[in-house]
């Protein structure tokens, strides 16, 4: 996919009339058309614009209503900018692949660092999975990924670093593969570390109806703050959990020596 129509013809020169409306200019740039409407975008992702567009940090007085209707977690609203006016605006993020997705009365959960911009008709909420955001409603949003995004149908198991997001609730859960660590030799391997690990012991498993979005590599995008979680019992990742719940640290593999406290059930 080259921006050069024919070899030797030089790059395609765009002007306001030829820039696409709400579509990709190339794999790395997305063009948004504003006609008196508004878009939310992450700070610093606008690279150029035509026309008269105002960029306002959220928290300005007139935008309070907007924040109330589109941001259901005002705690992280300060990381977002509202573009308002008419014209065309180009979005890009460090030469990562950029894609737009349409939601039609749907829901989609996405890794916080991957979301670039979205229409205010969508509601942005914190996911109960820490580090993820959920978009609900009808509208368009723009996401960045390292390499093209691939859509897969569940059931599928995904490397945690390759996951971009999922749509329509295919119930994400953890899955552990350590079949090779069972038996005498496997136990020896687990205890001594000789033989190494395959690096694929842990996946996210998706089951049910929906779509899973993968990026083509295992390089993560830098995570964006999603805002503080309410310090409440029963909130994953936030605050105190009741009773025995918080087993801090990494999950345990079979064959690994347990802590003394665990042995004695303390």
């Amino acid at each position: 996919m080259s921006t050069y129509a024919t070899p030797g013809a030089g790059p395609v020169v765009h002007d306001p009339a030829t820039l696409p409306a709400d579509d990709n200019v190339n794999a790395y740039t997305f063009c948004v058309e504003l006609k008196g409407s508004q878009w939310f975008l992450q700070k610093g992702k606008m690279i150029a614009y035509y026309g008269s567009i105002d960029f306002n940090g959220i928290g300005h007085g007139p935008l309070d209503r907007l924040v109330r209707t589109s941001f259901h977690s005002p705690l992280h609203a300060s990381d977002w900018v509202v573009a308002e006016g008419s014209g065309k605006m180009l979005l890009a993020d460090r030469a990562f692949d950029v894609n737009s997705f349409d939601l039609d009365d749907g829901n989609l959960t996405i890794r916080s660092g991957n979301l670039l911009a979205f229409q205010p008709s969508l509601a942005l909420k914190q996911s109960i999975v820490p580090g993820f955001l959920t978009l609900i409603g009808t509208g368009k949003f723009v996401a960045a990924s390292n390499g093209p995004v691939v859509f897969m149908e569940p059931p599928i198991r995904v490397d945690p670093q390759a996951l971009v997001g999922w749509a329509d609730c295919p119930s994400p859960c953890h899955h552990y593969d350590h079949g090779y660590m069972t038996g005498v030799l496997g136990g020896l391997r687990a205890l001594t570390g000789i033989g190494g690990a395959s690096g694929e012991e842990h996946q996210f498993e998706f089951a049910g109806a929906g779509t899973v979005l993968l990026q083509s590599t295992e390089q993560l995008m830098a995570e964006q703050a999603v805002g503080a979680l309410p310090q409440q019992a029963g909130v994953p990742g936030g605050g105190t959990s009741g009773g025995h719940g918080s087993q801090a640290g990494t999950p345990r593999l079979p064959g690994q020596l347990g802590d003394l406290q665990r042995r004695f059930g303390l």
Partner: protein, 216 residues
């Protein structure tokens, strides 16, 4: 064919019972079905002696065995992936460029000095291959990683191909390669063109070149 290119950076491999794949550890992106990933102590095929050979030759990339039935997606580090199908001939490639390959291929290590003597060893140093390189022989498919896109340049007896050593990825077929130098006094005084060393490949086969001079 077990490998299907999904996009320029991702391949889908089909695993069936009774067959197995080798892949670089940590390169699995997602899978469907019942597939197991076992770290491979020997770093590939063969017995203990092959393992020692690879360790000595510094061609011991951590590999894992992929078995079961299902489909697996592979990709690694944002590198571009090229699938190369081998039908009986030998592919010469650096071990750390291997993303995945079929278990039907025979894996070996080759001393570069055996191809061109001392110049072969110098060539290995210049291309960053070191003194040894990995060979894969037989019938099957290999997924090779490269920085930037990969293109295949055919080599015919009449038309030898010159490649920048840093852009060289792999080659297969009956190919003689030698390092051609164009060192002059300009290079000695630091006014060289930067293209003093080139790989000259001649014979019958193909060479894979990446669109970048960056190593993996």
């Amino acid at each position: 064919m077990p490998f299907r290119e999904i996009n320029s950076k991702m391949v889908e491999a089909t695993v069936a019972p009774g067959t197995r794949l080798f892949s670089q550890r940590g390169a699995m992106l997602a899978y469907r079905g019942e597939v197991s990933f076992t770290p491979n102590l020997q770093g590939g095929q063969g017995g203990i002696m092959s393992m020692i050979g690879r360790r000595v030759a510094n061609e011991d990339t951590p590999l894992m065995t992929v078995e079961g039935s299902g489909t697996v997606l592979f990709g690694h580090g944002g590198h571009h992936v090229q699938v190369i199908n081998l039908s009986g001939d030998t592919l010469y490639v650096e071990a750390d460029r291997l993303l995945a390959f079929e278990g039907t291929l025979r894996q070996g290590t080759m001393f570069l000095g055996s191809q061109g003597g001392v110049m072969g060893m110098v060539r290995g140093q210049v291309t960053g291959q070191g003194l040894f390189t990995t060979t894969l022989q037989g019938h099957g498919a290999v997924a090779v990683m490269a920085h930037g896109g990969v293109f295949e340049v055919p080599i015919t007896p009449q038309r030898p191909v010159h490649v920048d050593p840093q852009a060289y990825v792999a080659h297969h077929g009956d190919v003689r390669n030698k390092l051609s130098t164009a060192l002059g006094w300009r290079d000695m005084v630091g006014r060289g063109s930067g293209e003093a060393f080139q790989l000259e490949l001649s014979g019958n086969g193909a060479v894979y070149v990446q669109a970048s001079e960056e190593k993996l």
